[in-house]
Structure formats: C-alpha cells, structure tokens
C-alpha cells in the first residue's frame, strides 16, 4: 500500500460529486470502490472519512439520500446528485481544471521561452 497516495484535502467532495454524476444513485461503498477504480487503484481512500464528507455534502444540499436495496438485496443508503450539486460540480471542476492547467505550465519544460 506504500505506493498509494492519500486523497488530497478538499478533492474528495469533487470526486464524490463526479462519481454520482457518472453513475447515478449509488450507496457509499459503491462510491468508495468507484473512486479507487477510477484512480487506477493509485488512491488509498479511508472509508471512514467518506461518510462525514457525504454528510457535509448532504447538509449543504448538493446531494440527497434515501434508503434502498443494493444489487445483493441488502439495505443501503443511496446518494444522488441534486440540481444544486450538479451546478456545484460544474463550478468546482472548472476551478480545478484551471488550477491544474496553471500548475502544469509551471512544471512543464519551458518550450515557448
């Protein structure tokens, strides 16, 4: 596990929102697995921190939750994106892309110069 990276502060919410946009309503465990898979198993997610993050998003009104049945007929809480969450996702994704683009310029070899 030593070669895996911890999830950076503040990016977890964005990942959750994006996951929910892609997969639609899904339970917490599904979100966690999806995040790990998408990162090519490079990210190590502490599952215990996922739930407070989900709660925060719900308190802020970006996602909503309801109880349902999982694929194995198990009771689970399903999360889905709200309209406000969709907007927030767009906003955060844009900010993030901008930030990484700027950083990329700094880090890439200075060809233009």
């Amino acid at each position: 596990m030593g070669d895996k990276t911890d999830v950076w502060q503040g990016t977890l919410a964005l990942m959750v929102l994006k996951t929910l946009e892609t997969l639609g309503p899904i339970h917490g465990y599904g979100i966690a697995r999806r995040i790990e898979q998408t990162s090519g198993n490079l990210l190590s997610l502490n599952y215990g921190t996922l739930y407070p993050a989900l709660l925060k998003l719900e308190q802020e009104g970006y996602i909503s939750s309801e109880w349902g049945l999982s694929e194995n007929n198990r009771k689970a809480k399903f999360y889905k994106l709200t309209r406000a969450g969709r907007k927030q996702l767009e906003r955060e994704a844009r900010d993030w892309e901008q930030a990484t683009a700027i950083l990329a310029r700094f880090l890439s070899p200075a060809e233009e110069a």
Binding site: H27, G28, Y29, R33, L45, N46, Y47, G48, T49, Y51, P52, L55, K56, E58, Q59, E60, G61, Y62, S70, N72, R74, K75, A76, K77, A84
Partner: protein, 895 residues
Amino acid sequence: MRKLRALWMRLVGMFGGAADEEFAAELDGHLAMHIEDGMRAGLSAEEARRQAMIRLGGLEQAKIAYRERQRLPWFETLWQDLRFGLRMLAKSPGFTIVAVLTLGLGIGANTALFSVVNGVLLNPLPYPHPEELVTVHASKPNFSEGSISYPNFRDWQRDNKTLAALAVARGTGYSLTGMGDAEEMRAELVSSDFFTLLGVKPVIGRLFAPHEDEIGREPLVIISEGFWQRKFGSRPDALGKVLTLDGRNYTIVGVLPSHFDLRINNFHAADLYVPIGQFRNPALTARPAGLGIHGIARLKPGVTIQQAQDDMLRVSEQLEKMYPEADRGIRAKLVPFQYAMVRDVRPLLLILMGAVGFVLLIACVNIANLLLVRSNVRAQEFAVRSALGASHTRLLRQLLTESLMLSLTGGLLGLLLASWGTKAMLHLLPQQLPRAAEVHMSGAVLGFTLVISVASGTLFGLMPCFKVFRQSLQDTLKDGGRGVGATRAGAQNWLVVFQMATTLVLLVGAGLMIRSLAKLSEVNTGFRPQGVLTFGLQPSSAMIGASPEAARAYLREANARIAAVPGVDAVSFSWAALPMQSDDEQLFWLDGEPKPQSQNAMHWAIRYIVEPGYLKAMGIPLLKGRFLAASDDAHAPRTVVIDEVFAQKFFGNEDPIGKRVFLEQFENEPATVVGVVGHVNQWGLDNDAVNPLRAESYQAMMQLPEQQLGLVLMGMDVVVHSRYSGDASFQSIHNAVTQMNHEQVVYNPETMESVIADTLAGRRFTMILLAVFAGTALLLAGIGMYGVISYLVAQRAREIGVRMALGADRRDVFRWVLTRGGRLAVFGAVTGILAALALTQVIARFSSLLYGVHAYDPWTMAGVTLLMMVVALAACYLPARRATRIDPMQVLRSE
C-alpha cells in the same frame, strides 16, 4: 447561504436521536458489502472482515467523525456547560435567588433610567434634519432669552442670510362657542412657517400659506387630529367649516397629526393653531413690547450655528441703529433645539444615571463576593477537574457560563422590572420631563440591557476565576477543600471596602438632596397656601369691546357671584403676575427723579393687578398702612401697594406711605403708596431669593385704563380662599359662573399647595430615586460585609477555638470580630468621603439641585458616615455572635 443551511442542519441534527442508529445501519451495510466482495475475491470470512475494518479506519473513529460532522461540537460543550451550570445553581437556590434578584434590581434600574436617557437625551428629534433646528430669542439687558417683538421678528426674517426659515409662536386661549357648552381652548398663535420649518405635514387640508400670518388677514385655524376626531368624528368635511373663537369666526384649513407633540420655549402642542397676525393685543405692533413671543428657525444647509448667530447679531445691530430707543441692547440669540428642550433635566438625568450605575457596580461586587466564597467551597471540585485534565480555558468557560447564566437571567428580570419601573418613574415626574412621550423600550434599550448584563456577568464571573487559578493544585487537594489560607481573603476585603466607599458616595448624594428639600420646605412663601384655589375665567365673547363701565359692572357681578359660593370667604380677580405661576413687570420711576430716557433706565417691579379681596384670599400679612380698597376705583386718585422688598430697596429707612411713584403707563398721574405688605415668593421656593427682580407692586383692577380693561375681559385669573377642598369648591364655582352666563368658562383649577409641590417635583423625584438607590446600595453593602465576616469566622473557627481554649474571653472574641469588620468599614468610609467630596463638587457646579447646603455639608457627611458604620457593625453582629458560640472542645476534637 449553503454554509448557513449546513449550520442549521447540524443544529437540528443535535436533537435527532435516531441519527446514530441510522449511521450504524449504513455502516453495517457497508461492511457487509465489503466482506462479500472480499470473500468473492477468495479471502476467508475472517480475513475479509479484518481487511474491511482496516480500510474503514476503525468503527468507533468513523462513528465519532460522523457524529462531529453531524452536530456542532462546540455547541455541545456549551450545552454541557449550561446543564452543569444549571445543576450547580439549582444546588444552592439561596445563592441563585439572591444573585438573580440583586442583578435584576441593578439591571432593571439601569435599563429604566437608560430608556429615559435614551428617549430624552440621545434619540434624535422626530423631525427631518433636526441638527439644523434652533430656537431663537431676543436677549435683553434683563433677560438672556427674552421674547421677540413682532416688528423685530419681521425684520429678522427679512434681513438674515443664514436661516432657511424663521418662525415664532405664542400661547393663548380662546373660548369656543357654538359647539355645545362654551369651552376654554388652549391655542398657539404661530407664524406661517412654523410647521413647514419643522417638516410637519397635515393629515388633511393644508398649512398656513405665506402672508396669511400677517396682521389684518382673514381668520384661519388649523386643528389637532384629536380635536378633529372629538368634534367632527374625523370627517374630511371639517375643512372649510367655521370655529367661533372669542366670538369671531375662524375657517378650518387643515388638521395636524396627533403625533405632533412639540414642547419647546413656551410652545406646547395645542388643539388650535391660529396665525400670529390674529393676536388681538394692540401691543403686537409695538417694537419694544415683550409679549412672550419666542422663535424657532432652521439653518440653511451647511451653515453652522455660530455663523447664523453672527449673522443674526449683525441684523440686530443694524436694527438698533435704526431704532435706538426701542431696540437698545436687543440681540437675537440662537440656542440648539435639542439642547433647549432638555437642558433643564440633563444634569439631573446624568447624575441619576451615574448613581444607578454605582448601584449595579455594587451589586456586581456583591455577587463576586458570594462567588468568591463559593469558589473556596468549590476549590476542591476544580482541583479534581484540573487533575483529571481539564484545561484552564475549559474551567474558565464553565465559570463564565455560570455567571453569564446568572446575569442574563437577572437581565431578563431587570427588563421586566424596567418596563414597569419606567412607567412608575414617568408617573412620578409628570410635566417636568420633556419628550416623555418618546420614552419607550426600543432596540437601543434592549441592546443596552444585553450589554450591561453580559458585562456584569463577565465582571463578577472573572474575579473568582483569577483566584481559583492562583491556587496550587496540590495544596487544595491535600487540604480537602477545607481551608484556603487567610491571606487569600484579601480580595474579598478590598471588594467590601470598595462597596462601602461607593455606598457612601450615594448616601452623601441622597443626604444632600434630602437636606436641600428640607431647607426648601422651610422657605417662607410669604402667603398661606392652604385653601387657596386659582383658576382661569373667560367671560363670554359678548363682553369683548364692552365699555369700561360695563366691564367694571361685569367684574363686580362676577366677583359677587363667586363670593356667594358656600365655603368661599375671600375672592379676587387677578391679572398680570400670579405667584409661582405667571409673571409680569411694572416699569416706573420715583417722584423726584427725572423721567428716564429708555425702559432700561427705569426701575422694575413685579406687577400684580388685583382686587381688595386678594390680601385675605392669599393670607399675605399687611405691614403698614392699608391694602387696596373698594374705594380705589376709577374716580379715586391712583394708588399702589408695595411689598417690604420694594420699600427697603427704593425708600430705605424712610416711611414709604404717602410717597409717589410714576408708573410707566400713567406718566402724568403718579400713584401714591398707601400700604406695605409682606414679600411673596414669586419665582418658586428655590429661585426667589436669587432672582434679581424681587420688588413687588399691587394695583387695583378697577383703576386700569380702558384698553387694559378690555384685555382683562379676554381672560383673567381668579384667586379664592375656601374652607372646602379644591375640587368641591371649583365645582360649585363652575356652577355659579355658568349660571350667570352659560357662555363664560372657568378652567385650569389649581390649588396653591399643588403649585408649590410642582415647583419641587424635579427635586423630589431626584431625591426619591437617589434615596432608593442609596438604600439599595446600603443593603447590598451590608450583605457584602456580612458575607465576608461570616466567611472569616468560618475560616478562623479553629483559631478562635484554640484561643478560647487558651483562655480568651468570649467578649474578646466578639470584639476581635467586630474590629475586623470595623476596620474594613472605616477604610471604606474614608475612601468614600474623599470620593464624595470630589463628586458632589461636580454636582454642585453643573446643576442647581443643591439648595441651602454646601457640597461638603459636614452634617450630611457625618450623618451618612454614622449610618453606614451602624449598618456595617450590624452586619458584623451576627457572625460575631456566632464566633462567641464556638465550642473550643469540639473544635479541638475535630482536629
């Protein structure tokens, strides 16, 4: 917005009990799925479970993290503190009740006074741009704020360059007829700009237009909303209707809103407003006349009051050049509006505010003292908590939460007390306080209460905290919470000294006020106020313009009718001055003096125009010669009666009887002095002795010339002496007068006793409040002293026991305790006397509240110090008795 929503959800989350189980279920599902996945990947059930738990990072940790996000942790701590504090306070209900009551009283008194100060002194006036408003007067050699004559008003209005508008007003009265019984109405004569300048808008109709206030214009009237409702049922068709006032018809043009309640200069919002040009006094057009007309003005935007004052001085000086005789020494004088309204009560209110602040301070100190005692008891508890790892901040928070709970509860109680107390206070002081209607519980008042509650809670809460933290943990734990060294009582001692000193300051203030009032009640009024009733009489409007013979006949008949009323044994009409109620001056020169060139060079005396019955009605002693008699009529030579001050001032040791004086209005017909009477207190008990104008003169009403007789018939005062009570007499007089002619009105009855009481109302108000505050302070200081000495006795019980075992007398012990208390009291008294000496100087300098006593009055100082020492020793008595009952054997055994 999102943050706020999240905060709200978390706040709500604190009370949702099911949330924990719900999350537990969610976690169960999570783990089950994870384990299934692990087993599917080929792990044993146990290994899969282990892996799942590792990835979760601990079940409890996950739950804690979730719970912290779900709720507000700091709020939970606060909630804990509150519940714990509540338990602690409930455990000692005696302490809690005393503390809350003390604080409630202290905060309530402060809130009540602040709501008065806020409404009267701080709130801006309810007019647009109130800072531009000023009052305008004519300063004259004898009056710094004298009345403005109508011609000068017009010239000032025209020639000034700095005023946006200048208006004048003067009070008057009309008898209203043609709408049921004749009624005496108070009215204000105003110039056209008066309401426009203030920014007052009519409810319906219009205000007076420019030039409508000039002499000789059509009679118009603006009525109040109250009058409109009473007489016209608020129907809009009142506009254009006609009111018959003193027999003339005035057309209603507008209605003023009921919230217009201005009281400034002599102006006082009335039911009727009439243009000043309708004033039927022939002296209106006279430039030197003083008719009680005062002005208000609005400065042009950006003009300072100083610039306006300079400009108006320029205008007055120009007029003096044009009219050197009439306008000699007359200068316009501007006074800021709000200051003019409140200057009389400002020092009084500020002194009371200071006093009540002291009371709260003493209350805080008292509670701090109680808390200190408790903190000694609780030292053990805090030591244990510290030892278990509670940080100082955590303990501080706990202590502050407790004291703030106390002070906020006290504040709430205070608010209740204040809402009731403010009303009671305004009731005590009915007509003295300007802007009283604007006093109410406002946001500012609530804010003030909150701030002083929190401030006092912090103040008395922090004091014990410092002490608790200074204590060494080990010592306290070892000591078992029993004894905290005697040296640590130092803080408490200082608090008691402080309390005693502050209380003494308040006692001195109250004592000086009581002494002033006592001195005032000893002041000789110069007349017998008992049984004297005064009221206004307005003859029917048919008498206006009557011949002098008819007028005199009317006066004789009316006098006889009133004299015939049962119980009435003396009656006199009065015009011009009336002691303590209205004033009027007579200008004159003595026989043998050349006629002075101007009014200012003449002598002045107060002028009473009365009938022969006056002396008996008022009970004024006759010192020499005779009083005015029925024979002093229109055909007899002109006579005048003077008072002893007049006689002393103008005739010295010569016999004044038979001397002649030239009264200004009868310069060809000198009047002969026929008698000397005792001096009557004209200017009120507190002011008469210092007023420069004290000489008094009496003239017979029947000797008035025709023109002035006509004015008398437009309204005069009546003075009667009756064996019956004021109300009953007035009712029978009212019946008799109405029987004579139902169009004439009697109004505004006042007994001389109540007039005298009113002149002292302001002082009495201050005295009562100061005495209440000082009494409260004394009680609190007594409790404080009791607490400290009791504590001392409890702490030293062992020492006392040992001493007694070694042979100390019970009396020695008793004396020892009293000495301890006495030393504190003496310390407090000395500090208090020094502080009081400084503070009363301020009171004496900035207000006229003291009468006949020095700010350092030794009797007061000695008296209140004695009182305080007695209370202090009485407070020590019980603990001292308790000390003597200590059983040495028991103490020694318990060691």
